[in-house]
Subunit: 317 residues, 3 copies
Amino acid sequence: MSLDVAEFETVPAAWTRRHLLDLEGLSAEELTCLLDTAAQFKHATDNCKRRLPVLAGRTVANLFFENSTRTRNSFSLAAKRLGADTIEFTSSGSSVSKGETFIDTAKNIEAMNVDALVVRHSAPGTPHLLSNNVACSVVNAGDGPHEHPTQGLLDILTIREHRGTLAGLTVALVGDIAHSRTARSNIWGLKTLGAHVIVCGPATLVSRRWEEFGVEVAYKLDDILPRCDVLNLLRIQFERQYTRPFPSVREYALLYAMDRQRLRRAKDNVLIMAPGPINRGVEITPEVADGPHSVILDQVTNGLAVRMAVLWLVMNV
Amino acid sequence: MSLDVAEFETVPAAWTRRHLLDLEGLSAEELTCLLDTAAQFKHATDNCKRRLPVLAGRTVANLFFENSTRTRNSFSLAAKRLGADTIEFTSSGSSVSKGETFIDTAKNIEAMNVDALVVRHSAPGTPHLLSNNVACSVVNAGDGPHEHPTQGLLDILTIREHRGTLAGLTVALVGDIAHSRTARSNIWGLKTLGAHVIVCGPATLVSRRWEEFGVEVAYKLDDILPRCDVLNLLRIQFERQYTRPFPSVREYALLYAMDRQRLRRAKDNVLIMAPGPINRGVEITPEVADGPHSVILDQVTNGLAVRMAVLWLVMNV
Amino acid sequence: MSLDVAEFETVPAAWTRRHLLDLEGLSAEELTCLLDTAAQFKHATDNCKRRLPVLAGRTVANLFFENSTRTRNSFSLAAKRLGADTIEFTSSGSSVSKGETFIDTAKNIEAMNVDALVVRHSAPGTPHLLSNNVACSVVNAGDGPHEHPTQGLLDILTIREHRGTLAGLTVALVGDIAHSRTARSNIWGLKTLGAHVIVCGPATLVSRRWEEFGVEVAYKLDDILPRCDVLNLLRIQFERQYTRPFPSVREYALLYAMDRQRLRRAKDNVLIMAPGPINRGVEITPEVADGPHSVILDQVTNGLAVRMAVLWLVMNV
């Protein structure tokens, strides 16, 4: 164990940031450093199972202004596996309901000598605003429809694990691109690392303007299916108040659900991914979700590895 | 401390299960192994006060789909006293409300490399279903009206501590047998260990069919009172939507409340138990709850010991 | 680190209490002992940043019957920085809603071998009642409008840090004195340590009867402003159902808000404090809250130090 800790004494030279706010601004070197570090942590902790107390005595605060158990627990567990203490702030029952400003809430938490704030908020740019107002590290855990950088990283790490590299791969993001921070983080990260990215979904949810950023836009999954190395099936977020972007769930499933028939037309080694929670029978059928091409649960495990890497890097520059 | 840890290196040969789903299926040897291990943990941790890090680096997830602070905290504290990390999932605000299936939620938690899932759910059989779908250990923390095995074990451990053995004792479970998972776990555990079990309560809440399983059925507490070594007073669950099983609380208390008068007619060394939270003045009067026969708070402490034992056993077979 | 722990082996002779219920009953020696210990912990933990495991293996339970994230997290983090395990009980979803009495809930938590109960409740005197019914330590984290002793202590510690002593200082508490437990704890602690205390606010919120206790009563901030060494600006609690104690927020701000103009008439080295969460533009303007006289965030850090000191002292007499 002590040997492993020694391995993690100095942050690689490629990493110089105190915050992780988005993937849009990161260079290929920085992204690779993040992925390499995550892979190292995964190895050193025996597939994310054991503790590696490289953050012992440090404190990480989760500051979640949107409901989440999955991401919040993943960050919390990543922090604990690195030996850090964690504290949890959620919007309900907190000082926010007493009229305190968001920045004051964050500064008060920081004043408890917290070393990193992991923040989720419905307003795009919240983590960026925060990073200009606190001295500690800030990690974006999802800011409205803008970005969700650790989700992007865990998706990319999962692809790299299975294919060795991102360069030259064709990756399709399928579904609600318009409202998806996961899509945006994937797009920037994948592009920077040399993948060809396709966004695919109903015209109401996929803007033609992505072409300006070198992203291919498609409206029929069947048209692009045979060319894809990876299909990342974004979830249709029924809990949102949509203005009816498609006629019915059945219609959506007919056109975009990954099922047995479509799988037969895909590449033999296609990877099926989904950020979850999945709607079985909507964007993916059970036999595909649980089949040999699916790496959905690998993504969850890699989420831990990525969050360990991010916390360690930003807290040790 | 290190000596104590060494004591807990290998699980006894009598224990071979990766899950604890119910007490109905356990043999006398298995039950005794559980009780002996709990007693050992209680001793080694100085009456459940100190840490004994035999699960250091392991992770236990609480997955509670029904409200609970008492049982959830007891499991959580038991895990912490053994050095494990814990994560908490409750139904409100989780992915369940986003349409994810129960099994997908559990598998996603497991994919964070969780070693044991402690599950409470209103549907009987949920832990059993889960155990067929995950690779990690599953512990039933209450599945609807079916079973609550750690509650049964802590009740039985408390009796054994005070009487040395279960064999030959007469134990009455009083109150709402129909809806009580605590009753069911007690019945199976007590019977297997050789106790005589009486279920006693209003006819609307106590089925005559228990006689088929070798359980005595009684409708008047006063009839059986002088014969009982132990009275386990189940709580009337006012928060449930009953279809009026008895005319009034006053009527119930008149017939079944353990009070000073009834205590006088009981055996000199009768043990008064209650799984709590108790309704003072309904199933038990204050002077009995706080009197010398009451072992209600011993039950809580033994709950910690039992949960330590269960977690350690199922995670180390 | 080991040297530091050794420093905290024995509680100072001046401290003999198992509970911290209020500041009203404490002697100057006891208050000084608390402040000195807090200062020592602050130093030994490098400004409350590092762990100092003097409570390793002990357990602290937060028992909060009123919403709080700030104070609850501060106690929780203080306990963790001393190496203790923590468990959290809040009123929602707990056994209280199942009809259990407050004392039974507390005794059940204590029976899990908890060493200290940190309690917040809307009813004045709750911690005192509790301390008569449990064997473990009780710390008052706010009991209705009565007292909030750790808030009083952290305010006083912050003043002492900046001025060296309390004796001879003039400290004004401004705002809603009638409903403020923070005011009450400050008054008793400050008086005992030799400060001159002024309570200042609308006549509907400041009773003339404070004069009987040697406290100066003022209704106009501008009258007392030039004499004050410290201004502690209590928050107007909009979430309370006031019976309109002042005509409007604008009116309140005109008379009592600490702004640039008023700051110019204050002493050069005046300390501006606020227990938070602050209402910017009501009791304090942004340029004062964020200005050089403000020690608001020092108060938060000192909250950790004070809570470490309190937990360690009451759990080790």
